[in-house]
């Protein structure tokens, strides 16, 4: 698995990775199981990690991941590279499926981990913490994104995390933080734009 790039060489590496992913998706669209298996190996770690953070339950996270990959298998032909990279598409698909599950159960979102700074120490029972075989590139990428996120102004980071991981609407975030709606929209916008900007440099 290698989702990322060494700091300072972001776009070139990312483009190569995205090209590979697009080729995989095209092959999966033609029912190529080996391509599907390769893409699973590449994506399952980050997608499972996301599902675990949002659901907090290994069994549910695995069910959600199964839904996502079966959907990737059945919908590979409809993937549009103009809309997003395969990675982001799969991440947002996973988030949607997790939110569907939480809504269906009618219970509140439960974010398991605490702050992003100490997330490396988060644990689960049956899950396997990613091994040392994890590539240096992916670690670099995760470190980079975490660095960018943690260096956002705290109110922007807070709004983005509440929106992304807890799927609170801007209205709900405004109500929870006791801030005007326009302020919350601006925080989300500024934070996401900064994240984009740093990922491009």
């Amino acid at each position: 698995m290698d989702y990322g790039e060494a700091p300072g060489s972001c776009m070139t590496q990312e483009t190569l990775q995205q090209t590979t992913d697009r080729e995989m998706m095209a092959r999966i669209g033609h029912r190529d199981q080996s391509a599907f298996s390769t893409l699973y190996d590449r994506l399952s770690g980050p997608l499972y990690s996301l599902a675990m953070k949002m659901l907090g339950d290994p069994a549910e996270a695995q069910d959600a991941l199964q839904d996502v990959f079966l959907q990737i298998w059945s919908r590979a032909g409809t993937y549009d590279p103009e809309q997003s990279s395969v990675f982001s598409w799969a991440v947002l698909l996973t988030r949607s499926r997790v939110i569907d599950r939480l809504r269906a159960r009618g219970r509140r979102l439960r974010v398991v981990a605490g702050s992003t700074e100490d997330e490396e120490h988060g644990t689960t029972d049956a899950s396997t913490v990613e091994s040392a075989a994890d590539t240096a590139e992916k670690s670099d990428e995760a470190t980079r994104v975490r660095y960018v996120l943690t260096n956002l102004p705290s109110e922007q980071r807070e709004a983005i995390e509440m929106a992304f991981f807890e799927h609170l609407t801007h209205q709900e975030i405004a109500a929870r933080l006791g801030q005007p709606l326009g302020t919350i929209k601006a925080r989300i916008r500024r934070g996401l734009l900064k994240l984009r900007e740093h990922l491009h440099t």
């Binding site: 199981q33 699973y40 770690g45 982001s88 159960r105 490396e120 899950s127 990428e141 996401l192």
Partner: protein, 237 residues
């Protein structure tokens, strides 16, 4: 030039936070605005990368096996024609007489059994085992459930009826009781509708190749890794 308001909407759109009307309106706006589309794409990428800030975990290897089994093409084995299977021996039986007739019957039966076994190996319906779950206190006496279980695929479907929704803070959880596991294996949360009915597809979290029974218990909301609460429905084949 993209206005600040458009940027606001683009960020909320990328995070899928717009309501249905806003979503539709923004998509209309996107159609005629390449610059805005590019911004949305980049914001989506930024949002996607947020997944990398989560604790790094890997799913168990059994999950990949489960998924690969799901996508594997189903083999189709032609079922032998009943006429050929049933009557192919008749000319021989007539010609050879009663003794030979009895011998051929034995041979034919063995052949049919082999064919049936072959079909069972590849036909999901033939692999399905049914379990009937009966209520035990404190479940209502008319509560019931049926499980159709396919061990080869490690998945099944449960249909529940007459089981009222659990109290707040509780969930029903399905368990597979497997001969090779000390504890029941969780097969997930099952949620009934207002009529006490549910039909849910499930897969146990661990491989269960020798399931003796299925059971439903009342657990804490969100479920538990190991059964804690009372059994409401239980049954074997």
């Amino acid at each position: 030039m993209i206005s600040e308001e458009q940027q606001d909407q683009a960020a909320l759109y990328a995070l899928r936070l717009l309501d249905a009307d806003e979503h539709a309106a923004f998509e209309s706006e996107l159609k005629g605005n390449n610059e805005l589309r590019d911004l949305v794409r980049e914001l989506r990428e930024a949002a996607g990368h947020l997944a990398l800030t989560t604790p790094s975990l890997l799913p168990p290897a059994s999950l990949k096996q489960r998924i690969m089994r799901e996508i594997a093409p189903q083999q189709v084995v032609p079922i032998p024609s009943p006429q050929r299977a049933s009557f192919g021996w008749i000319p021989w039986a007539i010609a050879a007489g009663l003794a030979l007739f009895c011998g051929l019957l034995a041979v034919d039966r063995a052949r049919l059994e082999r064919q049936l076994s072959d079909v069972r190996a590849v036909d999901p319906l033939m692999q399905t085992t049914f379990y009937t779950l009966a209520p035990s206190a404190p479940a209502p006496a008319d509560a019931k459930a049926t499980v159709a279980w396919q061990p080869g695929r490690q998945s099944g479907v449960i249909r529940i009826s007459n089981l009222p929704a659990p109290e707040a803070g509780k969930d029903y959880q399905l368990w597979a009781v497997d001969a090779e596991h000390k504890d029941p294996i969780s097969a997930g949360i099952v949620r009934v509708d207002k009529n006490g009915v549910a039909q849910i597809r499930f897969s146990p979290v661990e491989k269960a190749e020798h399931v003796k029974a299925f059971a439903i218990s009342l657990e804490r909301e969100g479920g538990v890794p190991k059964k804690e609460g009372p059994i409401l429905l239980v049954g074997s084949t």
